[in-house]
C-alpha cells in the first residue's frame, strides 16, 4: 500500500499540474515541488522503516490484474535491499530536478506533468514485482523523456530525443521477447518466483534469452557500443532531465541486470561472465579516452557516465558478493555525483549560455559557490577518498580482482584517466585566468539553487564517509542471489 501511494503522489501531481488553468500555469512548479517533497519524505520513511537483514521483499502488495490464457499478470510491488536505496535516490533526485527547473517558464504545465510522469515510471521500474508491470513502466518513461528533450532541450534536440526513443525501443523489443520466453517457461510473471525458478523447455536456448535481456538493459546502462544515444540525449536535454537521466534512468539498466539477468539466469550469467567483464572494462577505458577529448561540458559528463557505468557492468560481471555490492553502490554514488555535476553545469549554462569548455575559465572568481559544487562533484567522480565515488570504485575493484585481475587492471587505468579529465576540466573551467567576459554574472542566489547544491554535496559526503548506511541494505539483499549463483 505504501508503495502504491508513492507511485500515486507524482501521478496525481502530473494530472493536477497538467490541468491547471492557463492563468495559474506558473504554479505548476509548486505542485511538482510539493509532490516530489512528499514522495521523498515517504520514501525516507520507508527507508527507515525497512528491516535490514531480512530476506525477501518488503512492503509487498499484490493484486490480480490480467488473467488471460497464458498471461496471469499481477499488480505487484515491493522493495528489497537493492531497490530501496534506488527508490530513495529517485525521489531525492526528483526533488533536485524540480528545483533546478524553477527557472523554466515555457509551457510549465506540460513540463512539470512530464517530469512527474518520468518520476513515476522510474519508481515503477524499481518497485515492480511483476515482469510485465516492470516492462510497462520501463516503456512509460519514453513518452515524457521524448517530450522533455524535444521541447525544452537545446541544440539538435529533436534528433537526440528521437535517437533516444529508437534506441530504447529497439532494446526493449529484445527484452520483451526474453521476458515472454522466461515467463511462459516458468508459467509466471512474478519476479520473485522467476528469481527462484528453473527454466525448462524454453522455445529458444536460455543463452539467447540471456542475451536478449542483456541487450535491453545494456542499451539503457549504456555500455559501448550501444552508448551513442547518451551523449546526444545529455548534451541536448534541459538540466533537470540530464539530472534525472544520468542520476536514475541509467540505473534502470544496472538494476535490470542484477535483478533479472543475474538472478533469473545465474548459470548463463556465469557462462557469459567473462564477456560482461570484458565489455565493462572496455567501456570504462573507452569512455575515459573519449571523455578526454570532449569540448562540450555536458557531453564530457555524459561520456564520463559511460565510463562509470562500465564499472557497474564490471562489478555485475564478476558476480561475487563484494563486486555486486560495489556495482550497486556505484549506481547510487554515480547518481548523486553526476546529478550534482549536471546541476552545477546547468547553473553555469543558465548564466553564461555556453557549455564550450574553451570559452569558460576562471569561474571560481565570478561564481564561487557553483564552482565549489562542481569541484566537489568532480572529486567525487574521480574517486577521491571520503567521497561517494571512492567507496564504490574500491569495492568493485576488490570484488572483481580475484577472478578477473586483468579486467581490474584495465579499469584502474580508467580511474587514472578520470583523474586526468576531471582535473583538467576543473582547471580549464573553474580555475585559470579570469575571463572578463563573465564579469557581472551572478553566483547562485535563489534559495532553490542553494538547496539543491547543498543537499547533493551533503549526499556525496555522506555516501563517502558512511557507506554502511547503504551497504547494510544492499549486502543482505544480495545473499540469495549469490547463493543461487553458487549452486
Amino acid at each position: 500500500m505504501e508503495l502504491t501511494i508513492l507511485l500515486l503522489i507524482p501521478t496525481v501531481a502530473a494530472v493536477v499540474a497538467g490541468l491547471l488553468p492557463q492563468r495559474r500555469e506558473q504554479d505548476a512548479k509548486w505542485v511538482a515541488l510539493l509532490a516530489s517533497v512528499a514522495a521523498l519524505a515517504l520514501s525516507i520513511w520507508l527507508f527507515l522503516d525497512f528491516e535490514t537483514g531480512k530476506e525477501g521483499y518488503q512492503f509487498v502488495q499484490r493484486e490480480d490484474w490480467v488473467d488471460i490464457g497464458a498471461f496471469n499478470l499481477q499488480y505487484a510491488v515491493g522493495v528489497d535491499g537493492i531497490s530501496m536505496p534506488l527508490v530513495v535516490l529517485t525521489t531525492a533526485l526528483t526533488v533536485a530536478a524540480v528545483l533546478v527547473s524553477f527557472s523554466v517558464t515555457m509551457r510549465p504545465r506540460l513540463y512539470y506533468a512530464m517530469l512527474m510522469l518520468l518520476s513515476v515510471s522510474v519508481l515503477g521500474v524499481f518497485i515492480a514485482l511483476d515482469f510485465m508491470l516492470f516492462f510497462l513502466f520501463w516503456e512509460l518513461e519514453l513518452f515524457p523523456m521524448f517530450l522533455l528533450i524535444a521541447i525544452w532541450g537545446s541544440g539538435r534536440r529533436e534528433y537526440s530525443a528521437t535517437k533516444f526513443v529508437l534506441y530504447t525501443i529497439a532494446g526493449s523489443a529484445f527484452m520483451l521477447v526474453g521476458i515472454l520466453v522466461l515467463a511462459f517457461s516458468a508459467n509466471t510473471f512474478d519476479i520473485e518466483q522467476l528469481g527462484q525458478a528453473e527454466f525448462r523447455d524454453t522455445v529458444i536456448p536460455l543463452g539467447w534469452v540471456f542475451f536478449l535481456l542483456f541487450v535491453g538493459f545494456a542499451v539503457k546502462l549504456p555500455i559501448v557500443p550501444v552508448h551513442t544515444w547518451l551523449p546526444d540525449a545529455h548534451g541536448d536535454a534541459p538540466t533537470a532531465v540530464s539530472v534525472m537521466l544520468a542520476g536514475v534512468l541509467l540505473k534502470m539498466g544496472g538494476y535490470g541486470l542484477i535483478r533479472m539477468c543475474v538472478t533469473m539466469l545465474p548459470e548463463q550469467a556465469d557462462d557469459y561472465s567473462v564477456w560482461m567483464v570484458a565489455i565493462g572494462a572496455g567501456s570504462v577505458l573507452y569512455g575515459a579516452f573519449v571523455t578526454l577529448r570532449q569540448t562540450d561540458l555536458k557531453r564530457l559528463i555524459a561520456y564520463s557516465s559511460v565510463s562509470h557505468m562500465g564499472l557497474v557492468l564490471l562489478g555485475i560481471g564478476a558476480m561475487g558478493k563484494t563486486a555486486l555490492m560495489g556495482a550497486t553502490y556505484q549506481m547510487l554514488a554515480h547518481g548523486v555525483i553526476t546529478g550534482l555535476l549536471f546541476v552545477c553545469v546547468g547553473l553555469m549554462y543558465e548564466r553564461t549560455h555556453t557549455r564550450d569548455i574553451a570559452r569558460l575559465g576562471g569561474l571560481a572568481r565570478q561564481m564561487p559557490i557553483i564552482a565549489t559544487g562542481l569541484v566537489f562533484a568532480g572529486f567525487g567522480s574521480l574517486g577521491l577518498p571520503a567521497l561517494a565515488g571512492f567507496v564504490a570504485e574500491i569495492t568493485v575493484f576488490l570484488g572483481a580482482f580475484q577472478r578477473y585481475e586483468w579486467a581490474v587492471l584495465m579499469a584502474i587505468w580508467g580511474a587514472v584517466l578520470s583523474a586526468g579529465y576531471i582535473l583538467w576540466t576543473m582547471q580549464r573551467v573553474v580555475f585559470g585566468p579570469v575571463r572578463h567576459e563573465w564579469d557581472g554574472l551572478s553566483d547562485q542566489k535563489h534559495w532553490w539553487e542553494h538547496t539543491v547544491v547543498a543537499g547533493l554535496v551533503a549526499a556525496v559526503i555522506l555516501l563517502g564517509v558512511y557507506p554502511a548506511l547503504m551497504m547494510d541494505y544492499i549486502g543482505p539483499a544480495l545473499d540469495p542471489i549469490i547463493e543461487r549463483v553458487e549452486s
Partner: protein, 517 residues
C-alpha cells in the same frame, strides 16, 4: 423458420428507412437531429442484440429444404459470434453518427441517406459475420460495399470524393468478380455453398480437384483481401480514404475491416479448415506483404488520411497473422488466436474511432487534413493533441494503450514454429510504424502553431465522445480481461462446430475404413 432471429436488424433497417423518410417528408429537418436519431437507432439495435448474448446458437435454415435438422445447412447462424459483431457494429455506427453531426451539417445539402446507409452498412456487416453459406455471405458483403460506395462519394460537389467513389466502385466490382469466381469454383468441386457442406465435401474429394480448389481459395482470399485492403489489393484504400468525408474514412477503416475479418474467421475456421495447407501459405504471404507495404509506404505520406489508410493496411497485416495461425494450428490454437484477434479488432476499432473523433473535431475548425496542418496542436488544443497521441501510440503498440495488450496477446496466441518468421516481421513492423507515428506527434508537440491560429474550443459532444474513446483505449490497454472474456465466448461457437465437423469426418473415415479394410 425463426424470423425472430433478425429483430435487431429489423430495428436497424426500419430506423434507416424511417430516417430517410423523415427528410423526404420534412425537408427542413435539422441535419444534426438526423445524426442523433441514428445514434439512438444504433443504441436500440445494440440493446436488442443484447438479448441474444449467451443464448445457444440458432440457425436460419435454407428456404425450400424444409425443416432440416438444427445446425446443419443453415444460411445464417445467430450465436455469440454474431452477437459480438452486432454490438461492435452498433457501437461503430453510433459513434460515427455522432462524429458526423457537425461535419455533415456544414457540408451536405441532405443527410438522411447518409445516416440511413450507415445503419444498413452495419446490418450488412452483421450478416457477413452470421452467414454460414457462401451466397449469403457474398450478398451481405455487397450490401456493405454498396453502402460504402455511396458514402465515400457522398460529398457530390467535392471532386476528390467523387473520384474516390468511382475508383472504389470499379475496383470493388473487379474484386467481387474474383470472389464470385472463387465461390463458383468451390461450388463446382463440392456441389454446395453451405460452409458445413463444403467442409464435408472437401475432405472427401479426390486429389484431382486440387488445382481448382487452390485457385478457388486464392480467388476468395483475393476478393475478401480487397475488402479488408490487404496488399496487393489495397490500391483503392488510400484514394478512398482521402476522398471520403472524414467520419466515413473512420467508418471504412473500422466497420468494413471488422466485417471482412468476421467473414474470413467464420469461413476459414469452418468451411476451409480441412484443407488448411492449401491456403495457409497464401495467407502468410499476404500478411507479410500487407504489413511491409502498409508500414513502409506510410512513412512517406504527407496527408493525414492517407497516412491513416496505410497505417490501417499495416494493421490488417497483423490481423492476417491470426488467420494464418488458424491454418497452421489445431482448434485449440485457432480458438485462442481468434479470441485474441477479436480483442485486437475491438482495440483497433476504439483507437481508430478515438483518432477520427479527434480529427473530425479538429477538421471542423480548420478544414486542413495535411499532417503539417497539425503543427502546434498541443498549444491550440492540447486535449485533441493528447487523444491523437494516445490513439497513434495504441496503433504502434506502446504499453498502457490498447494496441500493446491486444497485439501481445494476438502474437502470443499465434506463435508456432512455422510462423515465428511472421511474428518477428510483425514486431519489426510495429517498430517501423512507431517512426511515422512519432512524425505526427512531432508536428503537434514540437512546433509552434501556424501564424494566426489561436486556441480553439471543441464542441462539447465531440469532446465527451473523444474523451470516452480515449479512456476506452487506456482501459483495454491496462485491463483487457473483460473484453477478452467476451471475445472468447464469441469465438467458442466457431470452433465447437469445427470440432464437431472434424469428429464427424473422422468418424466417416473410420466407417469408410471399416467398409474397405
Amino acid at each position: 423458420m425463426d424470423y425472430k432471429l433478425f429483430i435487431p436488424e429489423y430495428i436497424a433497417g426500419g430506423c434507416a428507412v424511417a430516417i430517410i423518410g423523415l427528410e423526404l417528408f420534412m425537408p427542413k429537418v435539422r441535419r444534426d437531429i438526423l445524426a442523433y436519431l441514428t445514434f439512438f437507432a444504433a443504441l436500440a439495435w445494440g440493446a436488442a442484440s443484447l438479448f441474444f448474448v449467451g443464448s445457444d446458437p440458432k440457425t436460419f435454415p435454407m428456404p425450400g429444404t424444409g425443416g432440416v435438422e438444427e445446425g446443419v445447412a443453415g444460411l445464417i447462424q445467430v450465436d455469440n459470434f454474431t452477437t459480438f459483431f452486432r454490438l461492435l457494429g452498433a457501437g461503430i455506427v453510433a459513434v460515427v453518427a455522432l462524429q458526423s453531426a457537425a461535419y455533415m451539417r456544414d457540408r451536405a445539402q441532405t443527410a438522411s441517406e447518409y445516416y440511413g446507409l450507415l445503419l444498413v452498412a452495419g446490418a450488412g456487416m452483421v450478416y457477413m459475420a452470421a452467414a454460414r453459406e457462401l451466397i449469403t455471405a457474398y450478398i451481405s458483403l455487397e450490401l456493405l460495399s454498396f453502402c460504402l460506395y455511396i458514402l465515400v462519394g457522398y460529398l457530390k460537389k467535392d471532386k476528390l470524393s467523387s473520384e474516390a467513389s468511382l475508383k472504389y466502385i470499379l475496383l470493388g466490382a473487379f474484386s467481387s468478380a474474383m470472389l464470385l469466381y472463387g465461390i463458383s469454383l468451390i461450388y463446382g468441386v463440392t456441389g454446395t455453398t453451405t460452409y458445413d457442406g463444403i467442409a464435408a465435401a472437401l475432405s472427401e474429394r479426390g486429389s484431382d480437384t486440387d488445382p481448382a480448389v487452390v485457385v478457388g481459395f486464392v480467388l476468395i482470399l483475393a476478393g475478401v483481401g480487397f475488402k479488408v485492403s490487404a496488399a496487393p489489393f489495397h490500391m483503392w484504400a488510400p484514394d478512398a480514404y482521402q476522398g471520403a468525408p472524414l467520419p466515413i474514412t473512420g467508418f471504412l477503416s473500422t466497420l468494413s475491416k471488422a466485417a471482412g475479418f468476421a467473414l474470413v474467421l467464420r469461413l476459414f475456421s469452418s468451411a476451409f479448415t480441412t484443407d488448411a495447407e492449401m491456403w495457409r501459405w497464401a495467407v502468410s504471404v499476404l500478411a507479410a506483404a500487407t504489413m511491409l507495404i502498409g508500414n513502409l509506404v506510410a512513412i512517406q505520406q504527407t496527408n493525414l488520411k492517407r497516412l491513416v489508410a496505410y497505417s490501417s493496411i499495416g494493421q490488417v497485416g497483423y490481423m492476417l497473422i491470426v488467420i494464418a495461425a488458424i491454418g497452421y494450428g489445431d482448434a485449440e490454437v485457432g480458438r485462442d488466436a481468434s479470441a485474441a484477434l477479436l480483442l485486437h479488432i475491438v482495440g483497433y476499432v476504439v483507437s481508430t474511432l478515438a483518432l477520427f473523433s479527434a480529427l473530425t473535431a479538429y477538421y471542423n475548425k480548420t478544414g486542413d487534413d495535411s499532417i503539417e496542418g497539425l503543427r502546434g496542436l498541443s498549444e491550440t488544443q492540447p486535449f485533441l493533441a493528447l487523444v491523437i497521441t494516445i490513439s497513434l501510440f495504441s496503433f504502434a503498440g506502446l504499453p498502457f494503450f490498447a494496441g500493446f495488450a491486444t497485439k501481445l496477446l494476438m502474437f502470443q496466441a499465434a506463435t508456432s514454429t512455422e510462423l515465428l518468421w511472421l511474428i518477428g516481421l510483425g514486431v519489426l513492423n510495429s517498430f517501423i510504424s512507431l517512426y511515422y507515428y512519432l512524425m505526427v506527434m512531432r508536428q503537434m508537440y514540437l512546433f509552434d502553431p501556424m501564424a494566426g491560429l489561436k486556441r480553439f474550443s471543441v464542441n462539447p459532444l465531440l469532446m465527451v465522445l473523444t474523451a470516452g474513446l480515449a479512456a476506452g483505449i487506456v482501459f483495454i490497454g491496462v485491463y483487457p480481461g473483460p473484453v477478452f472474456e467476451g471475445a472468447e465466448r464469441a469465438t467458442n461457437p466457431l470452433f465447437d462446430r469445427g470440432a464437431d465437423i472434424a469428429s464427424t469426418i473422422a468418424g466417416g473415415n473410420e466407417d469408410a475404413q471399416a467398409r474397405n479394410p
